[in-house]
Symmetry: none
Subunit: 539 residues, 2 copies
């Protein structure tokens, strides 16, 4: 991030909330399965981006979310966001103060709690199996209890819009109960996602006028209108928007954080993020996609690689005269770039910014920056992706700036064997042949997998020369198969995250098979780790 | 198609137009490159679906589009749609009757012609390089000429909304010129896609009131609001919507035909398609994606495979009571189906529903369902994930219900070797030892990676016994490393998607290394493929 560090408090005021629920509602998306480490990484990205609130999960509902809150408190110093725990109103017929689920919300240590409450009469009866009055009492009791314990409380009114259609008086009664008990924001949820903007606007206006509560909006995208529905609610007076990165969420998904904040900042001229954050949007969108292991959507508004791609022809000459004639915003404002031909996303500005971020001053050297951009484009065309592989990018940058990469060893060849035995056990064996300080080293090791065996063989070969390697540890490992183009074979991209106890870094490898791609990423990981450790290069 | 054949005339009246421009504007999408045969196939699908107009391209602008119109006239008998040729107003300073580009539009034989006209003063000056008056004359002359030649004419006012902001009087003058010269519909285009619904609605209302012209809307999706923008224009009185299948189009794309017509039919109760056509929507969306060679979006509203997929265990029991509580429409109404995702949040209800979905009746057998739930939980604890691996889940279910999984082969052992040679090339070799129908088979194959080599060795071993395997193809492959818990080694999860030309299925494998996990997923993929093919089990 290039923007200035902010004061202790949040970077934006409390008058308007950008509330992110990627880690809770976004994780409901089919195909997403987050580890605690993934959640921590995403939370850091979202805090960097400058959202006001990060809903981290449902502590107590499953051990993963409980662990996330414990680790987030210890491991992350939030600069912009406040952490939010999600949970439900107390059980019918019990007391909030004695409800273990409510207790777990407090135990999470989150300063803000979002409570989900039923606002649709049929859901109260069929899903909660309690009376309409008891449901109101559950809202009041739980909100009051959490407020007494010093927490800020938001209330999500589930199925609000369907409920409002069925029984408007009851839906409004839930809003009033929540607000009167001390909820700061009452969030109207289009849980089934069936609404259209005109309906949202009408209902939010009426509820605001009749209850006077501070209102938020939570829209699902089942009609393809979640972004517009969110903005319609803002038009009607909502001052709290719940979104997810890249629109991840159950079924079709949730309102996409990125086009929502871009519209608010660029179309409404409303400041909802810290200064400079919007220009990081494309990078952050792609980085989060990498963490959840989904291909970033090429056609996502504002941040997709195609979002400002112009097919040459009709427009080309006019675009040269004035790009504003053919673009609704300046792509740089969201960290994206205009493209006239098939190319990648790297632009001069982002390379320069990235260099600055890594502490490598490119000093506005146009020729050097141009060379780096060309190199990135050439590599990304082959399938490399530097968005989530900072360390490999830094090595590439150093190679261009210093004319060479610091080298610690040279690979002659390697071999990995995986064998499944009749008894069901596996043998994994790898042999590496390396040159170090003029010596040829041949080393063999076994591992719990072929990449692990290669990793160990590499250590056997190198640790004698570089004892610092003992501290390095493989933290995460991701593989993606990239579609072959024009009849070529498909290629494999591996992202490896390595740690040394003080920090973590990510490297990328691309090859025709998973083991070879892993080897490349391992080579970068070791080289980068030795640079970090301050070891003098020898090759 | 299950609906009844209609009369000769269009199936819907002329009062509201669903105008599709997939073949013209949709083809501008990065990555789409249509042959004439592709265009003819898509035109047939769109006619089946029952759109009112199909814009086929720009005859005369390129030979492909000229050929399309010639062949479409000969080869397709349209039941619902009329074919539309797209072109520009005549050149400045010439006569429409003498303009070869205008001539080509007439030569196409299309009964309807859409003319693109500039409506933004700066574009007239900078892109057309003519005067504002001459541009109006170009509109009048070209529309009149085409009307005299017996064609119906629509006029697309390019950059209308940006132009309206810059010079509203001129933008309206273009609308009036088109309408007065005989254009049936004047289409207001948000060419740069930067508008939001409230802006669209305000401008369309004003232009309608002040010009009295019949108005249409053409929205690009750069703010993520194209569907909502299209509906906002309808709210304001537009009676002609221009869309593309699956939202294909330049940059981010166009207004997506499917959520637009679904909203009109299901939310507005407006009949815009022939009776029964909406129930074909999912099939047609996927079929068109196949023709343009893009993977159908899993998360597309209404038609995505995830659009009615429910994950949260919380909801499953209530869904059993009443699915309407958790769905904004009946999925069958758009030809889609509800799916229950089995995950570690799953309870009995979701397993039972899932069984029903797969055609395996668990008959409310509480003991059996409990066993399946236990088995899923136990496997998911080891790292399996059935949410994205329906086929593996079905095999698990069959094993519990039938006491055994249909078997086609038994694995004795296998081995994979990956070698990086000093020249940088790779060798991948795999050997499998299998038992089939009492015979022991040893087979070796090379591949472009170790999993590919195993896959090929397996085929070498099995295809003699099961020729149906030749049809199976690896479609997608994903790898995830799962964190080790409490000091155990980390495990690897592999998800494989396999296809047989008729459909696709996904399988999962979990093991201590990527190759062994891949092998498991391959075993499931082959077993499931053979069950699908109706092959009798032998083991």
């Amino acid at each position: 991030m290039t923007r200035q560090p902010t004061d202790q408090g949040p970077a934006t005021d409390d008058g308007f909330h950008v509330f992110d629920t990627t880690l809770r509602d976004g994780a409901q998306r089919e195909g997403i399965n987050l580890t605690v480490a993934d959640k921590l990484t995403i939370a850091r990205h979202l805090d960097d981006f400058g959202v006001s609130f990060i809903e981290g999960g449902w502590p107590g509902a499953n051990p993963r979310d409980t662990e996330f809150f414990a680790r987030a408190r210890e491991e992350i110093t939030f600069r912009n966001a406040q952490l939010v725990a999600f949970g439900a109103t107390r059980r019918a017929g019990a007391k909030a103060a004695e409800d273990p689920q409510v207790r777990a919300l407090l135990d999470s240590g989150a300063p803000v709690i979002t409570l989900v409450a039923k606002a649709h009469d049929r859901h109260v009866e069929l899903a909660l199996r309690t009376t309409l009055d008891e449901n109101l009492e559950m809202v009041r009791d739980t909100v009051s209890h959490l407020r007494e314990q010093g927490r800020r409380v938001f209330v999500d009114c589930e199925h609000f819009f369907d409920g409002y259609r069925a029984n408007p008086a009851y839906a409004k009664a839930v809003v009033r109960a929540a607000a009167e008990a001390g909820a700061d924001v009452v969030v109207l949820c289009d849980t089934n996602g069936g609404m259209l903007p005109a309906q949202i606007q009408a209902v939010v206006s009426t509820v605001l006028a009749e209850t006077g509560a501070r209102l938020g909006i939570h829209a699902q995208d089942d009609t393809g209108c979640a972004v517009a529905n969110t903005l319609a609610a803002v038009d009607a007076g909502a001052t709290h928007v719940q979104c997810t990165a890249n629109g991840y969420g159950e079924r079709v998904g949730n309102a996409n954080l990125f086009p929502v904040v871009a519209a608010l900042e660029l179309k409404y001229d409303k400041r909802v993020l810290p200064v400079g954050a919007l220009a990081e949007m494309t990078r952050i969108s792609h980085a989060i996609a990498e963490v959840v292991n989904l291909t970033p959507s090429t056609h996502q508004p504002y941040v997709g690689v195609s979002a400002f791609a112009h097919k040459a022809g009709l427009h080309a000459s006019a675009i040269k005269v004035d790009p504003d004639l053919y673009q609704h915003i300046d792509p740089e404002s969201v960290g994206n770039t205009m493209r006239m031909l098939v190319s990648d996303m790297a632009g001069r500005a982002s390379v320069e910014l990235k260099g600055k971020e890594l502490g490598i001053d490119l000093g506005g050297d146009r020729e050097l920056i141009g060379r780096v951009v060309d190199r990135v484009k050439e590599r990304e065309l082959k399938g490399y992706s530097y968005e989530a592989a900072d360390a490999s990018f830094e090595l590439l940058l150093r190679a261009e700036v210093q004319g060479r990469v610091p080298g610690y060893f040279r690979t002659e060849s390697w071999r990995a064997i995986v064998e499944d035995r009749p008894d069901g056990s596996h043998a994994n064996e790898a042999t590496v042949k390396l040159w170090v300080k003029g010596e040829r080293i041949v080393a063999t090791a076994e591992g719990n997998g072929p990449v692990n065996a290669l990793d160990r063989a590499m250590r056997v070969a190198l640790e004698r020369f570089y004892p610092a390697l003992a501290k390095l540890e493989l933290v995460d490992y991701k593989v993606r198969i990239l579609e072959g183009r024009h009849g070529t074979e498909s290629t494999t991209r591996v992202l490896i995250t390595t740690g040394d106890g003080r920090g973590e870094w990510s490297t990328v490898g691309v090859a025709d098979n998973v083991i070879a791609a892993s080897w490349q990423a391992l080579e970068d990981a070791y080289t980068y780790g030795l640079i970090r450790a301050g070891v003098e290069p020898t090759e």
